[in-house]
Symmetry: C2
Subunit: 361 residues, 2 copies
Amino acid sequence: MNDAAVDPGPRPTLAGVAKLAGVSASTASLAFSGTGPVSDATRERVLAAAAELGYAGPDPRARSLRRGRSGIVGAVLEETLSNAFRDPINVAMLDGLSEVAGDADNSLLLLTETGPERSRLVDAPVDAVVLFGCSVRLDDSIDMLRRRGIPMVAIEGKPTDGVLDIAQDNVEASHALARHLHDLGHRRVAVVTLELGPGRHIGPIDDARLASGTTFVTIERLRGVREVYPDAPAWGTAGSWVDQGRRAGRALLDVAPEVRPTAIIAQSDLLAAGVLAAADELGLSVPGDVSVVGFDGVRLDDPRAAHLTTMVQPAVDKGRAAGHAIVQLLAGEPAEPRLFTSRFRAGDTSGPVPTATVGAR
Amino acid sequence: MNDAAVDPGPRPTLAGVAKLAGVSASTASLAFSGTGPVSDATRERVLAAAAELGYAGPDPRARSLRRGRSGIVGAVLEETLSNAFRDPINVAMLDGLSEVAGDADNSLLLLTETGPERSRLVDAPVDAVVLFGCSVRLDDSIDMLRRRGIPMVAIEGKPTDGVLDIAQDNVEASHALARHLHDLGHRRVAVVTLELGPGRHIGPIDDARLASGTTFVTIERLRGVREVYPDAPAWGTAGSWVDQGRRAGRALLDVAPEVRPTAIIAQSDLLAAGVLAAADELGLSVPGDVSVVGFDGVRLDDPRAAHLTTMVQPAVDKGRAAGHAIVQLLAGEPAEPRLFTSRFRAGDTSGPVPTATVGAR
DNA sequence: TTGTAGGCGTTATCAA
DNA sequence: TTGATAACGCCTACAA
């Protein structure tokens, strides 16, 4: 009749299917959801009608309004994806979360709150949210979500009211690393930090800068070191990747031997790998001339960092714990905050302080 | 009056805010969306009422039903996140996509279709979908989405009806790599492939296995090599990570010199890095004893692979292109398929065939 | 500039 | 086992 075969017309709806099948919309709904009692004959008829109309099942948007659930968990990162995922530790946490969330039929929505622009976070149809390290910048959004009753979990975030905390013993673990070096006799020790926020300032961190820092994990890890080395100089990086560590390493190590640190504590394994590369380029032997320790305990492909002295943290478990917490909160059950502990792993990148620093080489 | 201060009661809605502000719901809606004419006084009143009730803005679920848009783009991967993100090439593509999608106010929903279980893909409130390499396994889901009129874009997928193709010159690029080795005199060349699907079979790939393979990119890249080396043996891996390449390298190289390949073509840079590690462990020099080439042109931290001979592909651009296509399709505009080309990059891991294979070492 | 009305597509509740 | 009814919370013509 009509030559406009191009326009498929309005998409079929459940109501349309029901009409064609000669049943009520509610019955058709039951036929699809599998919930509730429907005779086989009726179900067949509904499915046949659906096939005929090319109906692909209930519209997820309508369903989520009606049910009050979207099946989506927001994963909030404060970096671009390529920066965040450059470090395997983040991928591991996300993987653990994804596993548990997936088992509960939830998918992950990637939310990168990278700037101060109006955040997509508050406009996203999420049932719950996991914050991967959250800084002050997000406070407004967090407020909105709290008002909406959206359960929130933070992994290594600054403890915040109404946000369940999945924490890591960053202070103690960093303290332990520093202790390890102190026991080896090191007295001139420098720290290469993760991004301190806000902004991506690269270079020495003085007290004023530190006081204005926003990234909780960076501050905590530095604190742990300074419990042992109160005056340890800190070098801030733009984030956890090898290049940044290399750059920091060159800045810290390419100086006269008598002022050169005998050990460097990097706040991540990736940064440590960069420091090792820098030492290599400067002709310094590790741990002969300088000791290097990392943090995270991730598997690195770089052979130089294969046996890094580091603190191993249970990253996947942390992600899983966040997932479990979310699932519980969504079920209306209470969830407990968690504190994960790191384990010291001795490698071959740390050793006794060089006996004669001056003139050595 | 009531001692139940614990129950915040039902969440406030736009209607509630409107009532408190003494305006109609539609006016309140306008006050929030910013669209349309509202007097400043009224807006103030509405916002004040919202603040008083703790209303955090329109419910995204209701909004997406009403508007027919959720602001969500699905990113479909066929692996666990940690596997997918282990290779920087995937992260790069995702980053490009995220950039463009984000500019258009869309967020990415991570959908890992890792098994044959009922897919979450068809139940997710997505406006559009980007498939990262899609195999036959997804055909049913793709069908559903097509019926629903959800725009789909595939990056390096098997060309499929109704799915916009963002392609890569995999055959030609692999051909070029093989040609390069052929020109250097190599005649005994082996291939280390990406996962072939279905399943994660590791080991030699014979013709029957190849015929049952599902992963398009793997098949294409192998095809390109076989145009030059019709009989090149292929070793299948479980995926693109260094360990897999190392394992493949050991299997292929730890044999008598007279049958050992003089060159290995890895289908990714990560796999190539693994092959280099294996060669190193076996005491083989590169490219003295064996040449190794990769694919992708990603930046690797492993110093051994710093100057890998490879084909550089514009991964971020591919992700961006997918994003642009999605944005156009969502706007009802037509979008063109794209074909990206790779660029040969000579490194120091490929060289002339060893003159005396036998007895060398 | 504001209000009224209707519906986006489902599903929960209840009664038949 | 099925059907009628009523939301879920919002937005957008259109009328006032």
